[in-house]
């Protein structure tokens, strides 16, 4: 770990007290604001009309950005976002693209107000550019934000912003990613807010300074103009709304949108039980050559109408798997928005007032300068979001009203592979650089009432997409041998996690080896956890088949569609590696599916039969994981019953004893749901946790602090066919398949693929027996 650099603290932006920020600004920067009376005086008609108009403005900005950008990661993967903020940059309206960015955009504006208002000043016609993840705006240096103050009658009225991932901004690694970086100086240079537009003019000196660092300066130049264009559209449209309705009315609507969203989220929180829920997760490997696990842990406490996320205990910053405070906040937002605010307008400035963050500096998701952070969004920030979602789902699962918002963890990262080499298909050889987009087709987590979406995408980029194979082959010297959904990759459960997909490519139209940079996680431990006894989805795997001789084999009419058919010498790709892909070789990627919900032995056998027909589950998986036996494609009821009993007996046989305790049962009739398997009931006059299936008392706070469950630790492969490789290939830590079962009926209550020293939050009785929800 590198030593902190004195003087770098100045660039760490944090959420602010808006009044204090406003008071700190120089007289040269008058703000436009409205009083609470003006906000209260809005009539419902005007509010709705202007609100809708602002939505339309934001939407137009996004359309413009998306259509003008030249980065596939924007145009195809939709890794971008845009926002309108009030005079202090609090987000009033955000786009529906990369939701993690929502947690970072306002931080950049706050910082700019603090550090640019006096010198060089903030004036009409300015736009700022920033890619410093400590300042905010984005989560790593590739996220570049362009944002502008909008003035009305000489007063600062609002901010618009447009942000997108740029393919390369320099640094030692292709795509600005170096898997062996030891600090940020090996990555793209973080650029704090700089005026790229002044007096409505793009400043050529700044633009040149900006694009000069990149391996693809033309694309970066095109995107810079796209962002400027989107902001210009936002400004024009916003000013015409002001012209029609008056500045005070528009501002009152903006403020009320945030207050309204905040109020609705607070109302919802108030109706949920108070308590503390915990989750811990891991990134396997932190950089090329590393073989350890890196833990992020969170304790979510809900009191009345407020949430606190406490990350104390998270591991120290390490290698490249770090993110700044902006990344931690972005991760939290990416879970809170869809799970808690799916039915509330995303006036994020208001929603973000409902939580605060507690974290130690210098940790994986609150890294201090000069930690390497290029893996920030898809590593630690993503994991942060997954863990927060896990806590929220535990809280929400108790209530039938909210279980629609409960979801096992989705694909836990975006496996990245960058290929760069020489395209020799044209008359002149040209260099190319391609980030393979396909791993965006991850699986979604299962829900109490539904299976996870198969190849549904990435949870934190709701509108992501992957390119067509033909577009990839048109642009790059590659032949895609296959791209398909992988059976058994969805986390087994009463509801199955969504399956993921795999792809295999071989060089085509190039005579020299291509460089290959790998960055991924979730290969030894699961990042796509199940819920309520559901199992994690598949572990990721990358394979390089050396000496596969594809050119000759294609010529001979062979089209392999499995790794076994590909043959050659197959190397497993490390999570972080720099390698190459030579002509004739094959590169295979299989990314993560979603976690399952509930015990797979409780899954409707007909649903399993349908999954087998649709190649979502193999017959082998059906028997081994779901205990469903098919005969001629139909469920063999008798054999299935026997097989399921056999599997339950196997659980009993292999488990460590649950330990001594009362063998009491509770009456399920009066019990209250905790999740798919657990209920809260009364026993001997005290609240206890019981098994929802057999009624056995599993936890009594008077006797002990932990649930009394039977425990099994076995090799990770015991989780099922979704574990695709040996953890020892990647890490030195011992990794196990751990399952806790009810010692009465042997229903799985919790399942995971975790390090042996994983802290078993699942056994924590306090998370289950908390105060009953308040009335109302």
């Amino acid at each position: 770990m590198t030593m902190p650099i004195p003087g770098s603290e100045r660039f760490s932006s944090r959420p602010v007290d808006p009044d204090e920020l406003a008071a700190s600004l120089p007289a040269s920067l008058p703000l436009h604001t409205v009083s609470q009376e003006q906000i209260d005086a809005l009539d419902p008609l005007t509010y709705e009309v202007v609100r809708h108009r602002l939505w339309s403005v934001t939407d137009e900005m996004g359309e413009a950005l998306k259509r003008m950008s030249g980065s596939p990661i924007v145009t195809d993967a939709n890794d971008f976002d845009f926002a309108i903020g009030d005079e202090l940059g609090q987000e009033v309206q955000v786009g529906l693209y990369n939701t993690m960015l929502v947690g970072a955009v306002d931080l950049a504006v706050y910082w700019t107000l603090r550090h640019r208002a006096a010198n060089p000043g903030i004036a009409e016609g300015d736009m700022f550019l920033c890619n410093d993840p400590w300042v905010g705006g984005g989560l790593h240096q590739n996220d570049v934000i362009v944002y502008q103050p909008v003035f009305h009658d000489g007063q600062l009225f609002a901010w618009t912003s447009a942000i997108a991932h740029e393919p390369d901004l320099g640094g030692v690694g292709l795509g600005s990613f170096s898997p062996s970086a030891t600090d940020v100086f090996s990555e793209a240079l973080p650029t704090p807010p700089v005026k790229v537009v002044r007096g409505f003019q793009l400043q050529d000196d700044v633009a040149d300074l900006w694009v000069r660092r990149s391996r693809v300066p033309m694309l970066v130049g095109l995107d810079l103009r796209a962002k400027i264009g989107a902001n210009s559209i936002g400004r024009q449209r916003l000013l015409s709304v002001i012209e029609q309705y008056g500045a005070d009315t528009v501002k009152a609507v903006m403020k009320r949108m945030m207050a309204d969203a905040e109020q609705r989220l607070r109302d919802k929180l108030r109706r949920l039980p108070d308590g503390t829920w915990r989750a811990s997760g891991y990134q396997d490997q932190s950089h090329a050559g590393d073989r350890s696990l890196h833990r992020i842990t969170v304790a979510m406490t809900k009191r009345d109408d407020h949430l606190t996320f406490d990350f104390t205990g998270t591991g120290p910053q390490s290698g490249v798997v770090n993110c700044t405070y902006a990344g931690m906040r972005g991760g939290v937002v990416s879970a809170v928005l869809p799970l808690l605010a799916g039915d509330i307008p995303w006036a994020a400035g208001g929603l973000m007032r409902c939580f605060d963050l507690v974290s130690e500096e210098g940790t994986l998701n609150n890294a201090t300068f000069p930690a390497a952070v290029s893996r920030g969004p898809i590593g630690p920030a993503w994991l942060t979001g997954s863990l927060v979602a896990e806590c929220l789902s535990q809280m929400l699962d108790r209530s039938v009203d909210h279980e629609r918002s409960v979801q096992a963890t989705c694909c836990g990262t975006w496996d990245t592979a960058v290929l760069a080499g020489l395209d020799e298909r044209g008359s002149q050889p040209v260099p190319f650089l391609n980030l393979l987009m396909e791993p965006m087709a991850g699986g979604y987590g299962a829900r109490p009432g539904a299976d996870g979406m198969d190849t549904g995408g990435l949870f934190c980029i709701p509108m992501g997409r992957i390119p067509d194979t033909e577009m990839t082959e048109f642009l790059y010297p590659l032949l895609t041998l296959w791209r398909r959904e992988e059976p058994d990759s969805g986390g087994p459960g009463r509801h199955r996690g969504g399956v993921s997909a795999s792809m295999a490519v071989t060089p085509y139209g190039t005579s020299v080896p291509m460089g290959l940079v790998l960055a991924s996680a979730g290969k030894s431990v699961a990042q796509n956890n199940g819920l309520a006894g559901g199992l994690p989805g598949n572990t990721g795997v990358e394979v390089l088949a050396r000496g596969a001789g594809m050119a000759e084999r294609l010529a001979a009419g062979e089209l392999p569609t499995t790794l076994a058919e590909v043959g050659g010498q197959q190397e497993f790709g490390a999570c972080y590696a720099e390698s190459h892909l030579a002509p004739g070789e094959v590169f295979y990627m299989h990314w993560q599916g979603g976690g399952g919900y509930g015990d797979p032995l409780l899954r409707d056998p007909e649903a399993v039969a349908r999954d087998v027909r649709e190649y979502k589950v193999t017959e082998h998986g059906a028997q081994e994981v779901y205990g469903v036996v098919l005969s001629g494609g139909r469920v063999d009821q008798e054999a299935t019953r026997a097989r399921r009993e056999e599997l339950r007996a196997g659980r009993r046989h292999r488990a460590a004893p649950a330990g001594p305790g009362p063998q009491a049962t509770v009456d399920l009739a009066g019990a209250r749901r905790l999740d798919d398997n657990l209920v809260e009931a009364r026993h001997d006059g005290a609240p206890v946790v019981g098994c929802a299936h057999c009624g056995q008392v599993l936890g009594d706070a008077r006797a002990e602090g932990r649930l009394r469950l039977a425990r099994f630790d076995g090799p990770s492969s015991a989780a099922g066919p979704q574990v695709t490789s040996d953890p020892a290939l990647y890490v030195d830590d011992e990794v196990v398949f751990r399952q806790f079962c009810c010692p009465g009926c042997w229903t799985a209550v919790w399942s995971g693929v975790v390090p042996a020293d994983h802290e078993d939050h699942a056994l924590d009785l306090a998370r289950l027996l908390t105060a009953a929800p308040s009335a109302g």
Partner: protein
């Protein structure tokens, strides 16, 4: 005497318009008759014949052609009411249609649905995986065969599909638009085994790069092709038996028609035909009225459709979305921007008033229909405000319950907000107008135009009550409500006025500067295809025009822009001119300086559209002129009406459209009751009955009094 007839088969009604070459236009309506819609068509033709006082056989004998638009294929796709089909694709790539590029999860969703990620599904798969089989073959981006087609393996796959009872097979292979040999061979193999099986090839249905959309397009075309073939066959037989000698034409999404016999092979091209009828009608009416730029708004009970006419030409799109799948159909761009008269007003959890996007649909309908609906809609608000007559719609044939409307608004909106029922109704009306205005503005502006340069046409039952207000929201000065003899069947009028349009396209992606020889060859091949297709229609044209375009983009962009290219020989100058036209169009859409030629420009798809102009198309007849501008003869009385303009209820004159004559001028506020709709002329505006019987609404100072 020669007639041209347009028939618009909707889900509920079949409309028809007949025009003779002597200036007479009549319209008729009959119930649609699912599942065999052809009976409804014959019924409505019978009604037309009755109105003419001639036997149907005589009318059909004298009919030059019938142009026919149908919603049944689209409905079949949307409802999933299609026969099972098989799918053959390249080995390793079956799952393209299941992965759906991920975007199949959310394409075509409203903003509200987009935000609610946990409410989304991918359960709209095109077909079960056992019916999607891979064949061993591979072609590369240059059209070179990498792995030849394994015919034995292909036969086994086809056999498996046939053994499963499938009677239609879609074939879509990677890069088939560069080299269709394997697809064609597969069709031969299918027909060797069973010549009766319906086969669609992606290289014929949609020879465009990006396999997911091409696969989905080919599969959907195969799903509706046999049904369309059977339906049109039955209909054409029925018409021939009754004496029709001229061609039966089918409207396509691109705003032009093709011969019924030609339609099933590329059935997907007909899916949007009913949606586009109104835009084609607007083009025709615009020609007669001298309007070059028109915003066409068609507001029904459940839909609000917007199309654009720019410089006399309808604005086109190259892709549409059906059931969350992208579909490659050249189409007139028609945006569904929310709901119509049945849009439900509701309060969200924050107590904010919202209107739509949910609709009360036909059943139960607005609360005032008294069919069990309890939620307040636009229509209920309009009744409470006095805009709609208390005695009901359709001259009283559709009774309305003011009591139910008031009750719904009172309980759901007024009391929770602490407003009077009247104020709540006014708020609903105003929110609807403002939101419609936002969506209209977005639609026009995102197409790169300024709404102030347009005239707005409003038709459909629910549009004319709002149009003057939503037009004012976006700065449109003149609104025209088409009210002549075809008011109730404007879409059928559009069909009757359509020409034959045949398009052909081919992706041949390459970077600028393009090789002129390659471009010329691409266009020459496409033009040959288009001319042959025009010949196959069996119709006499007075003129044929061919339009070329290239879809271009800056390198790596997702979206392409269609750029027109002049006909004739192609040289470097023509190529360079196309590049400049692209940059110019790009700047129009996104602002000056937004483009960046240094990133490089790519041409992706070449397209030729051939228009065969038919010998005649209907012109609306002129209405008798009024003796003076004074419309009092048509005034039936007055009632208090609140137009949600802040003035509260104002005693407002009511006019009977049937008594209005060309030249009558109505000062707003005024209400015009038409049998099929109700028109609002707001205060400060003037309504003028034009020579064709349309009501033109303009700001008072611009009126031609």
């Amino acid at each position: 005497m020669a007639y041209v007839i347009g028939v618009d088969v909707g889900g509920t009604f079949t409309d028809a318009v007949l025009d003779d070459d002597a200036g007479t236009i009549i319209a008729a309506k009959a119930p649609s008759t699912p599942p065999d819609y052809s009976r409804g068509v014959l019924d409505v033709l019978g009604v037309l014949a009755e109105q003419l006082g001639r036997p149907l056989e005589d009318v059909l004998t004298d009919t030059h052609h019938i142009a026919h638009g149908t919603t049944s294929s689209l409905n079949a796709l949307v409802m999933g009411n299609v026969p099972p089909v098989g799918f053959l694709t390249t080995r390793g790539h079956r799952d393209s249609i299941y992965i759906m590029n991920v975007e199949g999860r959310y394409l075509g969703s409203s903003p509200h649905e987009l935000q609610h990620v946990l409410g989304q599904t991918k359960s709209h798969g095109l077909l079960p995986k056992r019916h999607a089989l891979e064949v061993t073959e591979r072609i590369d981006r240059d059209g070179e065969v990498v792995v030849p087609l394994d015919e034995d393996q292909a036969r086994a796959a086809i056999r498996a599909l046939l053994d499963d009872g499938l009677r239609a097979i879609a074939v879509s292979l990677l890069w088939s638009f560069r080299n269709p040999a394997h697809e064609r061979r597969l069709r031969e193999l299918v027909h060797e085994m069973d010549p009766e099986v319906f086969v669609s090839l992606s290289s014929e249905v949609s020879p465009r790069i990006r396999e997911y959309a091409r696969n989905a397009t080919t599969i959907m075309s195969t799903q509706i092709g046999p049904g369309l073939r059977d339906y049109l066959g039955t209909l054409e037989d029925g018409l021939r038996e009754r004496g029709l000698r001229g061609p039966l034409l089918v409207m396509q999404s691109n705003g032009g028609a093709v011969a019924a016999r030609q339609a099933p092979a590329t059935a997907i091209s007909t899916v949007g035909s009913v949606l586009t009828g109104g835009v084609v009608g607007s083009v025709a009416l615009g020609q007669q009225l001298g309007h070059r730029n028109v915003i066409s708004t068609d507001v029904g009970g459940t839909t609000f459709l917007v199309g654009l006419v720019v410089d006399g030409e309808p604005v086109r799109a190259t892709t549409t979305v059906i059931n969350h799948h992208p579909v490659n159909v050249p189409t007139l761009e028609v945006h569904a921007i929310g709901s119509g008269g049945g849009a439900i007003a509701w309060l969200d959890a924050g107590g904010n008033l919202q209107v739509g996007p949910h609709s009360a649909q036909a059943v139960p309908g607005p609360a005032c229909y008294d069919q069990g609906g309890t939620e307040p809609t636009n229509t209920d608000a309009n009744l409470v405000l006095g805009i709609l007559p208390e005695r009901g719609l359709l001259g009283g044939r559709k009774p309305l319950s003011l009591e139910r409307a008031r009750e719904a608004i009172r309980t759901r909106i007024a009391e929770p907000l602490g407003l009077s029922v009247e104020d709540a109704a006014a708020a609903i009306h105003a929110v609807q107008n403002a939101q419609t205005g936002d969506l209209l503005r977005k639609t026009v502006v995102e197409a790169g135009h300024d709404p102030r340069d347009f005239v707005l046409y409003a038709f459909g039952g629910a549009g004319p009550a709002h149009c003057a207000a939503y037009a004012a929201e976006v700065g449109v000065a003149e609104v025209v409500v088409p009210l002549g003899p075809v008011a109730s069947a404007f879409s059928a009028y559009g069909l009757a006025s359509s020409d034959i349009v045949v398009a052909a396209e081919l992706s041949d992606p390459a970077a600028m500067p393009l090789d002129p020889v390659r471009v010329e060859k691409a266009f020459a091949d496409l033009e040959t295809q288009v001319r042959e297709a025009l010949d196959r229609q069996g119709v006499r044209y007075t003129a044929v025009s061919l339009d070329r375009e290239i879809d271009m983009r800056f390198t790596m962009q997702l979206a392409e822009l269609a750029v027109p290219v002049p006909g004739g020989p192609v040289d470097d100058a023509v190529v360079a001119q196309a590049g400049r036209a692209f940059e110019r169009r790009y700047a129009e859409l996104y602002g000056e300086g937004s483009g960046f030629a240094a990133a490089g420009i790519q041409a992706i798809t070449f397209r030729v559209r051939g228009t065969g102009v038919l010998p005649f198309s209907p012109r609306l007849p002129e209405l008798a002129r009024a003796g003076s501008a004074d419309p009092s003869a048509a005034r039936t009385g007055s009632r208090p009406v609140d137009l949600a303009d802040g003035a509260g209820p104002v005693d407002t004159p009511v006019y009977d459209y049937r008594a209005l004559r060309a030249g009558h001028v109505l000062e707003g506020p005024a209400i015009v009751e038409v049998p099929t709709t109700t028109v609002v002329v707001p205060a400060g505006r003037t309504g003028t009955v034009d020579r064709l019987g349309n009501l033109s609404i303009t700001p008072r100072q611009e009126s031609s009094r």
